[in-house]
C-alpha cells in the first residue's frame, strides 16, 4: 500500500506500519482493514500521522485508529504517548472540544415498553435539554461556582444536587482530572462557558435513546447492567465554548514558545510546549479545568434526562432504574503508567478522537468492572448503530490503552446537504424506526447517516486487533440533536 512516496507495510491483519523516515522520531501505526486503508491513504490523515511522529519525546509509534480522518495537526483518531522529560504536550493532540465524550445511562425499561410514550418523551427531552446554538443552561453559575466546576467536575455537580456518588464513581477519573487550575483558564474562556453548562451543543452532539439490539459478550453486558431489548440513553457532548477557547488560547501561545525554542515541525497546528516547561504545565492545568467542565456538563445533561424520564413516564427512580454505566472522554491528554521498553513508567498520552480502553484488572477502572474491563462507547451515525466495547489487554501492548471513538465522517457537509435535497430527513429517519427532534433541520442535513463511515467496520477492526472487544450493539430509536 502506498501513500504518495511512502510505502506502507502490512504487519498484521488490521495493522499497518508507516516506516520512520526523514524527521520522524518513531514509525506510524494505523489500525485499519485493507479496504479502510485504501480509503485512508486518499486524504491527508497518513501525512498527519507522519507529522505527529516528529514531535519531541514521542514514544514507540504515532498511532491512528480505524476511524482516522483529517484534523488540525493531529489527525482525528490519533494517539501519541510522550516521555515526560523530553516530550511535548500539544493542544492539537487533544482537540478544541476538550474532554468531549460519551456517557451511557442504563434503565430497567425495555424499548418495546417505552415505544408508545416515545413521541411525547422525545418532545419533552427536546424541550428540557438545552441544545442548539445560543442555548443556555438551566443552572446560573456565579464566577465562584464556575471555579468550583473547573476544580471538581462531576463532584461539584453531585454536591450541587445534580447526581450521586455512583455517578462520580462510574465516570472516568472519578469525574475530576487532578491538577486543574482555574487561573490558567482565560476570562474569555470562562465567559464563553458560563451560560453553557448543561447544554448539549450542536453539530454531532446528541442525546439518543437506544435499544440493546445484540449482545456479543453476555458476562460483560451483565456486569455493565445491560440486557437484550433494554432502553438506554447515550449523551455525546463536551466542554462547550470554554474548552474551545482554552485550546484556541494555548495554540496561539505555544506558537510563540516554539519560535523561542526553535522547535521546527512540519505543521504549525502541531504547536506544542515541553511538558515540564511553565507553558506546558499551564496548558495541562487549563486542560484539566476544561475537562472537569465537560464532566460536569454531561452530569447535568444526564440529570436533566433522568428528571424528564421520571416526569413524562410518571415513574419513581427505583422503577426507572436509570443509572450511569460509564462516562469516558475521547479528546484528552492524560498522565498514565504504561510499559515502555519493558519498564512501567509515567507518560502523557494524547488521545484526539480516541478513547481510553483499559482492560480487566486495571486499577483505574471501577471495582465493579475490574473483572471485565473498562466500558468504551462508540457512537455511529444516527440511523444505524452504536457499540459498547470493553478494553482489552492488547490495548496496553499496542496502543497505550486506546481505541477508536466513532464512525468518522466520509462526506463533507455540503455534499451531505446536497444529497438530501428534495427528501424529508424526518420521514427517512422514521422509515428506519428513528424519531428525531432537532434545533435546526438545515444543519441536521449535515448529520445524515450516509455522511458517516460504517461504524461496524471500525469496531470490527479494534475487536480483531485485540484492543477492545464488542459487548453489545445498540440500535437508535429516538435522538435529540442540537
Amino acid at each position: 500500500m502506498r501513500f504518495q512516496e511512502v510505502s506502507i507495510r502490512k504487519i498484521s491483519e488490521n495493522m499497518w506500519e508507516i516506516p520512520q523516515s526523514g524527521g520522524m522520531r518513531v514509525p506510524g501505526l494505523v489500525f485499519a482493514s485493507e479496504a479502510m486503508m485504501g480509503e485512508i491513504v486518499r486524504d491527508e490523515s497518513v501525512r498527519q500521522v507522519m507529522n505527529v511522529a516528529h514531535l519531541p519525546g514521542i514514544l514507540r509509534y504515532s498511532i491512528g485508529m480505524p476511524d482516522i480522518h483529517w484534523g488540525y495537526g493531529f489527525p482525528i483518531g490519533g494517539v501519541a504517548a510522550m516521555d515526560l522529560d523530553e516530550g511535548v504536550v500539544s493542544p492539537g493532540g487533544v482537540g478544541y472540544d476538550i474532554n468531549c465524550g460519551v456517557r451511557l445511562l442504563r434503565s430497567d425499561l425495555t424499548a418495546a415498553a417505552l415505544k408508545p410514550s416515545l413521541p411525547q418523551l422525545l418532545a419533552a427531552l427536546h424541550r428540557e435539554i438545552p441544545s442548539g446554538v445560543g442555548s443556555t443552561g438551566f443552572v446560573r453559575l456565579s464566577a465562584r461556582d464556575e471555579e468550583s466546576v473547573l476544580l471538581d467536575g462531576s463532584r461539584w455537580a453531585a454536591s450541587a444536587g445534580f447526581g450521586s456518588g455512583d455517578d462520580v464513581e462510574f465516570t472516568e477519573s472519578g469525574g475530576k482530572y487532578p491538577g486543574a487550575d482555574p487561573d490558567a483558564v482565560s476570562a474569555v474562556a470562562k465567559k464563553r462557558g458560563r451560560d453553557q453548562l448543561g447544554t448539549l451543543g450542536s453539530g454531532n452532539h446528541f442525546l439518543e435513546i437506544d435499544e440493546v439490539a445484540e449482545i456479543f459478550d453476555e458476562k460483560t453486558a451483565e456486569a455493565y447492567g445491560l440486557f437484550h431489548g433494554q432502553a438506554v440513553v447515550q449523551i455525546h457532548s463536551g466542554s462547550r465554548g470554554l474548552g474551545y477557547q482554552v485550546c484556541d488560547d494555548y495554540l496561539a501561545g505555544m506558537a510563540d514558545y516554539m519560535r523561542r525554542k526553535r522547535i521546527e515541525l512540519p505543521d504549525r497546528q502541531l504547536a506544542c510546549a515541553h511538558i515540564r516547561s511553565p507553558e506546558g504545565e499551564k496548558y495541562i492545568s487549563a486542560l484539566a479545568a476544561a475537562a472537569n467542565f465537560a464532566f460536569a456538563n454531561r452530569q447535568l445533561l444526564a440529570h436533566q434526562a433522568r428528571e424528564t424520564f421520571l416526569k413524562e413516564l410518571k415513574m419513581g427512580p427505583r422503577d426507572l432504574g436509570m443509572r450511569l454505566v460509564y462516562d469516558c472522554g475521547h479528546n484528552n491528554a492524560k498522565f498514565e503508567n504504561h510499559d515502555v521498553d519493558g519498564r512501567s513508567r509515567k507518560v502523557l498520552v494524547h488521545r484526539k478522537g480516541a478513547t481510553r480502553a483499559f482492560p480487566a484488572g486495571h486499577a483505574d477502572i471501577p471495582s465493579a468492572y475490574r473483572n471485565v474491563g473498562q466500558p468504551v462507547f462508540i457512537p455511529g451515525d444516527m440511523g444505524h448503530a452504536s457499540y459498547v466495547l470493553a478494553g482489552e489487554p492488547g490495548a496496553m501492548r499496542l496502543s497505550f490503552g486506546s481505541t477508536c471513538h466513532g464512525a468518522g465522517r466520509k462526506m463533507s457537509r455540503t455534499q451531505a446537504k446536497a444529497s438530501v435535497r428534495g427528501r424529508s430527513i424526518a420521514q427517512d429517519m422514521e422509515k428506519r424506526g428513528v424519531l428525531v427532534a432537532c434545533a435546526s433541520w438545515k444543519t441536521l442535513a449535515e448529520e445524515i447517516p450516509e455522511a458517516y463511515k460504517d461504524v461496524t467496520g471500525v469496531v470490527n477492526v479494534v475487536h480483531d486487533a485485540g484492543i477492545a472487544r464488542k459487548v453489545v450493539r445498540l440500535k437508535p430509536v429516538a435522538v435529540v440533536k442540537g
Binding site: W70, G203, Q269, R413, S440
Partner: protein
Amino acid sequence: MKSSGFRLLPHTADIRVEVRGKGLPELYAAGVEALFSLMVDRRRVRAAAERSFTVHANDPEERLFLILRKALLLFSPDGFLVRAAHATIKDTEVEIKVAGEQFDRSRHAVGREIKAVTAHGMTVRRVPWGFVARFIVDV
C-alpha cells in the same frame, strides 16, 4: 463568483471557506461576513449597533487569523451577530468595524456553532484582480 464574497470548499470533517476581495481591506471584511454567514442568515440581522476591534500583525495571513478569532468572540461569548463589516489598514494595524445586533432567539435561527477558527491551511493569495483567502473553521 463576484469580486467579493465567499464560497464553501470541500472538507470532510469541518468547513473550509474561500473569500475574495479586491483589496486586503475588502478581503478581511469579507472574511468576517463569511464567518457570520456560516452561523446565521445575515439578511435577518439588523444593523442596529456597531462594534469595533483592532489587530496588529505584519503578515496578511496572521492578520486574517487574528481578525477572524476576534470576530468569533463577538458572538461567543458576547452574543453579537454581524450583518456587515468594514476594514481599514494603517501600517501593521487593521481596524474592523461591524454593524449588527444582539442575538434574538425569536428572530435569528443560528444553525451552526463554530468552535474556533483554525490556522490550518490558512492562505492569502494575490490574484490579478485582488486577493483570495482560504481558511477552515472547526464546527
